[in-house]
Amino acid sequence: MTATVTTDSRTEKSDRVTSRGTGGARRRLPRIPDRIRQGGLPYLLLLPAVLLELLVHVIPMIIGIVMSFRQLTQFYINNWGGAPWSGFDNYRIAVDVNAPIGEALLHSFFVTCVFTFFAVGLAWLFGVAAAIMLQENFRGRGFLRAIFLVPYALPVYAAVITWAFMFQRDNGLVNHVLHDQLGITDQPSFWLIGDNSIYALIVVSVWKGWPFAFLIVMAGLQNIPRELYEASAIDGAGIWQQIRKITLPALRPVNQVLVLVLFLWTFNDFNTPYVLFGKAAPENADLISIHIYQSSFVTWNFGTGSAMSVLLLLFLLVVTAVYLLITSRGRKGADA
């Protein structure tokens, strides 16, 4: 954080240098070292992005951290600086698993982990399968590629509302197929309340997420040199062997980034459960972002909500760091 601020203050200082540096280049002076000739130009170019990131991400995050140490309820919302300090109380409340708030948070955390595992796993699997199956050219390939991208292009709220309609108990497609047509269930089931809601959530999340995996893997496949396949074909390798020995290993770096991004998005996802279930998710599908939203904006306990957000961020940081460590070590091992 401090480092970013440093960058920012440097920017203003070096503004004046810019014009001089540019003028120098224009008059085609003899070669000057890069650092001098460019002057403050790079900082000037970065200025808008830095200012916006500060305003919308960095400063709010710092305030969020400060708020997590205050007793911030609706009485202080107009003057949040006046809310009394409460030390680590909010954190103590959030992690006290013997009390209702902490217990609910832990439950929500477990639900989110299970949800993320299946949602990311399936989205990744479908995306990779689709991209590999469309790698070779055949009739209808472009058409299928367009179809596969439709869930990615549809706005979340429009698509998820449609899924909510499909999961309706009495007039939805899902029960019509499972109960009326296939006779798998004795009764038409509830999908948006009760125990089944986690399945509904996973299905919608996978539907929404796999086209992104498909897109990234498809882009990754274009970087694999054709000669590898040609050479292996001459050596007598079949298509299954090529997929196993060439395609999948070559995709490893892409997959590593992809899985991390999918994990972060899915773990933080707010839009899908919010549109599918509304402000209060069923207990079985109570994802952490909805849970924090509920704790902050519905029960008006912003201090605890902020503490929960900070804990969530710390968790994501640790997971990301461990993941990067493992995968970079793996890559080094593969290179050696």
Partner: protein, 279 residues
């Protein structure tokens, strides 16, 4: 290359399944939007019993859909244009210059991707309210506040992708422009930007879709007049009577422009990703 039967069959099965999975909600959306209300309120039927286009006329009266549409268009459009311009400048700086703080900048920008939106929702809300109280600039509840917020959402990914894309454009090109008397900005706009069109289009598509589809901030940061489609569509669903045929018709109406635009530009997106993000 002749593929064995086992591969062809696996491919058929997988692709059929995925195509059906992808299109199932689209079918429901289209078919239900053409059903009369009593049909859509009863048991689901694959084939509509009677076709009607009435829902397509009713959607505009049940909620002020046209206003939401304009709001979404203004917010997403402006956020996209600004975000792309800012990303081009930043990516150019990172790709072409050596300077102190470069690493700090890229790491900080990238790591904001990881923040849960909920963490800065409330503080941002408070900042906007405070700015409004002290300076009179209405950010909370205004389109401007939402534009400001959205344009940073796509910024990290856009900068990251454009850095990769600019890196893949030979430096000789813009250095030649510099030698020929262009300023650095001249080189950027006359040489680098034209060469990076696929990357820039890809970034613009991504930015527009991010803004068009965002729900959380739209539901907290807007009021009756600035509401976007993301919040407006819920208007059909939260009433006692849910007009599902209208919900589906409205969903389709707000989806068609963005899906059509996306499918037209998807080649750019893959090209942009290939050069930029996936190296």
């Amino acid at each position: 290359m002749a593929a064995p039967q086992s591969f062809l069959w696996t491919r058929r099965v997988i692709l059929t399944f995925l195509a059906a999975f992808a299109l199932l909600p689209v079918y429901v959306m289209v078919s239900s939007s053409l059903k009369p209300l009593q049909d859509v309120s009863g048991k689901f039927h694959w084939i509509p019993s009677g076709l009607t286009v009435k829902p397509y006329f009713d959607i505009w009266d049940t909620v002020p859909l046209a206003r939401y549409f304009v709001n979404s268009l203004v917010v997403a459009g402006t956020a996209t244009v600004l975000s792309v311009i800012i990303a081009v400048f930043s990516a150019y700086a990172v790709s072409r210059y050596k300077f102190r703080g470069k690493r700090v900048f890229t790491v900080t920008v990238l790591s904001t991707q990881m923040f849960p939106g909920i963490l800065f929702l409330l503080p941002l809300f408070l900042i906007f309210v405070n700015i409004g109280n002290s300076t009179g600039i209405a950010l909370y509840g205004s389109r401007g506040g939402l534009i400001l917020t959205y344009l940073t959402f796509s910024l990290p990914f856009s900068i990251w992708m454009l850095i990769g894309y600019f890196d893949s454009i030979p430096r000789d090109l813009d250095e030649a422009a510099l030698v020929d008397g262009c300023g650095p900005l001249g080189a950027l706009f006359r040489v680098v930007v034209p060469a990076a069109v696929p990357g820039i289009v890809a970034v613009a598509v991504y930015a527009f879709m991010t803004a068009w589809g965002e729900v959380l901030f739209a539901s907290v940061m807007t009021n009756d007049t600035t509401r976007t489609l993301a919040v407006g569509l819920q208007g059909y669903a939260t009433q006692n009577d849910v007009y599902w045929n209208q919900v589906m018709a409205a969903s389709l109406v707000v989806s068609v422009p963005i899906v059509a635009g996306f499918l037209l530009l998807q080649r750019y997106l893959v090209a942009g990703l290939t050069a930029g993000a996936v190296k």
